[in-house]
């Protein structure tokens, strides 16, 4: 069964949810939807998105398993800077503002279990990538073309 720490957390979870779940809000309108399509090896999605709550879904039309990793760039970091770091295999963590949100999809399938919700703010820049590789030592999919930069308008 679960370890002691997890068991303790399980007991705490009940009380946490009392505060955590009671936070539904009332938007002016339903969130926008952006559908991302992954292929071998590219992403199809707009270069820019509108500000506001947005639900992102992911479909994999390739023959390889893919992921869609979203990270927000730090304010002031340009799309060019981030793209150059990726191209040079340099660490991008210093350039990103947040942790990441990831969706997975098997070949030829749509992820109908989980989607990502982001409240985009005007002027933000986000990166989309697939960090998978087809085999040990093979280039990451992002180096093969599965890398996009998105601006919030």
């Amino acid at each position: 069964m679960l370890g002691k720490a997890a068991a303790h957390a399980r007991a705490l979870g009940v009380s946490v949810v009392l505060g955590a779940v009671a936070s539904c809000t009332h938007p002016a309108s339903a969130p926008a939807t952006v559908h991302v399509i992954g292929t071998d090896y590219a992403f199809a999605m707009p270069d820019s998105v509108s500000a506001g709550p947005t639900v992102i879904t992911f479909e994999n039309r390739g023959k390889q398993r893919h992921e869609a990793v979203f990270v927000r760039l730090k304010p002031g970091v340009t799309l060019r800077q981030f793209a150059d770091s990726v191209a040079r295999d340099a660490p991008v963590r210093p350039l990103r503002a947040t942790g990441s949100a990831v969706l997975f999809a098997d070949p030829g399938s749509r992820n109908d279990v989980v989607s990502i919700r982001i409240n985009f703010k005007r002027g933000e820049h986000w990166a989309l990538s697939c960090q998978f590789a087809d085999s040990a030592g093979a280039p990451k999919h992002q180096k093969l073309g599965m890398f996009r930069l998105v601006t919030v308008r």
């Binding site: 399980r10 009332h26 639900v55 947040t98 989980v114 989607s115 919700r117």
Partner: protein, 155 residues
């Protein structure tokens, strides 16, 4: 489950039902946002509810860990017992075939936040798994306690 835990669970169930109902619609007919459940990552546990009502649910994630953590969410396949899946995972064996294809996760390095959420339409009576598969010194965090089940209520 001891008595105190049972009482808290009953109270949580009641409140969740009320909140879920309140979040589902409005008198003006305007769509309302799904409720938000915050999962908290620790070294090495995931703090989250044991059960939730069905319907669209937003999962946010924060971590007070000293190493990177993630919360991955997957839907357990029909016919797979949640306890069995958790036992397999805690042993370090592969559970990939025990949940449906199509997962999502939120990742945080220490001190980071993430301004994105996972949106899951929780299906009535189904089980979900919450897991951190990152490794520390070659050992998956899941085998150290960072895996748990989430049961969706039937009513």
């Amino acid at each position: 489950m001891n008595r105190a835990h049972a009482v808290r669970a009953a109270a949580a169930w009641t409140l969740l039902t009320v909140v879920a109902a309140a979040c589902g619609s409005s008198s003006s007919g305007q769509p309302k946002e799904p409720p938000v459940v915050t999962v908290i990552g620790h070294d090495f546990a995931l703090e989250a509810p044991d059960s939730l009502p069905p319907g669209p649910t937003r999962f946010s994630f924060r971590s007070d860990g000293t190493v990177p953590h993630e919360v991955g969410i997957g839907r357990v396949k029909r016919g797979v017992m949640l306890d069995s899946l958790l036992k397999v995972e805690l042993k370090g064996a592969d559970i990939t075939g025990m949940y449906d294809a199509g997962e999502g996760l939120l990742y945080l390095a220490p001190g980071e936040s993430v301004d994105a959420e996972l949106l899951v339409t929780l299906e009535r009576g189904r089980d979900y798994v919450l897991i951190c598969t990152l490794e520390d010194k070659g050992k998956p965090h899941s085998t150290m306690g960072m895996v748990r089940g989430l049961r969706v209520m039937n009513d």
